[in-house]
């Protein structure tokens, strides 16, 4: 498999993966609700974002963007805190980054061959991921939105030499 417009997963697979991970990380949470093209088209406003890169026979980025209230709810629930409880510094970056890490790790597991997964980078704002979106899934949760994108570099990537 090479870089380019090849996606390691289909939109349906990615959606199912994201929903399973969400329920697992937030054990007592309501599930995510899938969103479809028309309603998911509008960009998120001032989201929290995180991404990981996969480098191997396939090269690309898995990026997560979520509305700030959703990022705060995610963090509180991952830490077992009540909604609205004060969070320690760095907790939001940690939680959003870990969500990207788990989704990225699962996407990488769908790929044949060896490769490496970067540590997650998280922030608000996080510069837009460059490249071509080859797969995406959009979800809502309590009126807030989450998007997961799989991107490949716009320029041809030099794939790793076999070891």
């Amino acid at each position: 498999m090479t870089a380019g417009t090849v996606s390691p997963t289909t939109g349906e697979e990615l959606a199912a993966l994201v929903e399973e991970i969400w329920v697992s990380l937030l054990s007592d949470s309501e599930p995510l609700v899938p969103m479809y093209d028309a309603e998911a088209a509008a960009p998120l406003t001032d989201p929290w974002s995180a991404q990981v890169t996969i480098d191997g026979d396939w090269h690309g980025t898995v990026r997560v963007d979520l509305d700030a209230p959703l990022a705060e709810a995610l963090t509180a629930r991952m830490l077992g805190r009540r909604p609205g409880a004060p969070l320690v510094e760095g907790a939001l970056e940690d939680a959003v980054g870990e969500l990207a890490n788990v989704i990225g790790g699962n996407v990488k597991s769908l790929l044949p061959g060896e490769g490496s997964l970067s540590l997650p980078v998280a922030g608000r704002p996080l510069p837009a991921a460059s490249g071509e979106t080859v797969c995406r899934t959009d979800h809502s949760w309590d009126e807030h939105r989450l998007s997961v994108l799989v991107l490949t570099p716009a320029e041809p990537h030099q794939t790793r030499e076999p070891r």
Binding site: E20, I21, V23, S24, L25, S27, T75, M78, L79, G80, G90, A91, D94, A95, G97, E98, N101, V102, G104, G105, N106, K108, S109, L111, G113, E114, L117, L119
Partner: protein, 121 residues
């Protein structure tokens, strides 16, 4: 029993500890380290009965931690809790001496089965 949870993400350490409780393993003495290097230092001072470690961490990753432990002669049971569960990684973990690999997302049942595998009840 002493269990050391190693992960650079504080929220993931909390989730692992919560899941251990849900799996019926809340009675153990749990400690935490945020990367392989700190885990190694902790283990030298207070050897645990089980290490549950993430794979991908800054400073020293989980596989390097395991290989350092085995090179030093340590036989402490070691399991990975990681976001990647490919066949290649499972094979590499096993070759290096890991007892199991739990892929995130995980369930309390996965922890119960894994701890049963290393004789921790």
């Amino acid at each position: 029993m002493k269990i050391l949870v190693v992960d650079d993400s504080r929220v993931m350490r909390q989730i692992v500890i919560r899941t251990l409780r849900q799996a019926g393993h809340g009675g153990h003495e749990l400690s935490e380290a945020e990367n392989g290097r700190l885990a190694l230092e902790h283990i030298q001072v207070t050897p645990p009965d089980l290490v549950l470690s993430d794979w991908n961490m800054p400073e020293m990753n989980g596989i390097d931690l395991l290989e350092r432990l085995r090179a030093s002669g340590s036989t402490i049971p070691f399991g990975f809790v990681t976001s990647e569960g490919s066949d290649d990684m499972r094979a590499r973990a096993e070759r290096s001496g890991a007892a199991f690999l739990i892929a995130k997302p995980f369930t309390p049942e996965a922890f119960a089965d894994a701890l049963d595998l290393v004789g921790i009840s």
